[in-house]
Symmetry: C2
């Protein structure tokens, strides 16, 4: 199942911030719609007034058994009534990252950067869903979607700042940070 | 870059065997064509006289640093003049496999099933390329393509038999084995 994020004129999420963190940004548009479909939507013609990206909620690539159990125990589902704030953070990593072996990537991701354990700290307040898109020929490698209640914004900012301060993050070559509010 | 395998009436590879190893097979067709494209070809209408499958030659998912170096040192490229025999082996693994954590999958794949070290034994005689397709919404999870000179057929048969005797293989729920010869 593919999840497609369409930035444009319409959609239930209002875009309140659209920031190019590293590399090229995304066109400034007012709204976002998220849809699911069994086949991938082909990229539309390039547009300066809209954009789309798509990914797949796939199996875990680094998470180990004990971590998987902790995540399952602590995590919250998407779509909670109170979670009216969201962030859409698409990322592309460098060729150097993808040329590493599995154990080298795991070492950087968790042993050195504590990606999984840092994220665990903010569960269940900040719900998180990762979508993979590197193998789909998309411009980004991953899309991460976060949902939280407005009062948990400080915790979310802390999580994002933590992840951007890691060794893993030095392999990021493009990142956009889109913040959203559910329209009334 | 997507690699598409089309079984049908035309193509440089002659299909000499098409065997359903586990689960549903593929329609009997005489020829195979392999093409590469930057976008994925949408599945055509279902046909009883042709089939297609597509995948991506992606980054390694289990291989560790020392193994990666050994593979790089021993492996042969595709397209060697003498490698006129080939095998196309698409596989789908069970939901139970994909629900395992990364360390559990690595444990079964290598520590228990010696997938990587067994395959290394047959390099450079048997060239091998893995294509990932689970995230593409394809009917298979992987496509493995092997190329070898006809005189190395016994080594290839030994490799295939070894992999089918492993614990990892008990997670395979669909496998088709297509053998090919380059047309004169």
């Amino acid at each position: 199942m593919f999840t497609t994020f369409r930035g444009g004129q319409a959609g239930p999420w209002r875009i309140i911030l659209n920031s190019a963190v590293k590399g090229e940004g995304l066109a400034a548009v007012p709204a976002l719609a998220v849809t699911q479909s069994p086949t991938i939507a082909l990229p539309l013609l390039p547009s300066t007034t809209s954009w789309r990206m798509a990914g797949v909620a796939s199996h875990v690539r680094y998470v180990e058994k004990a971590e998987k159990e902790q995540l399952a125990e602590k995590q919250a589902p998407l779509g909670r009534k109170e979670a009216t704030s969201a962030a859409l953070i698409p990322i592309r990593k460098s060729a150097a990252w993808w040329a590493l072996s599995q154990d080298e990537r795991r070492e950087i991701l968790e042993a050195k950067s504590h990606h999984i354990s840092s994220s665990l700290k903010y569960l269940p307040q900040v719900a998180r869903q990762l979508y993979h898109c590197r193998d789909l020929g998309e411009p980004f490698d991953f899309i991460t979607w976060f949902e939280y209640a407005p009062e948990h914004a400080p915790q979310f900012e802390e999580l994002v700042a933590t992840l951007r301060g890691t060794e893993e993050w030095t392999f990021v070559e493009r990142e956009v940070d889109v913040r959203l509010q559910l329209a009334e």
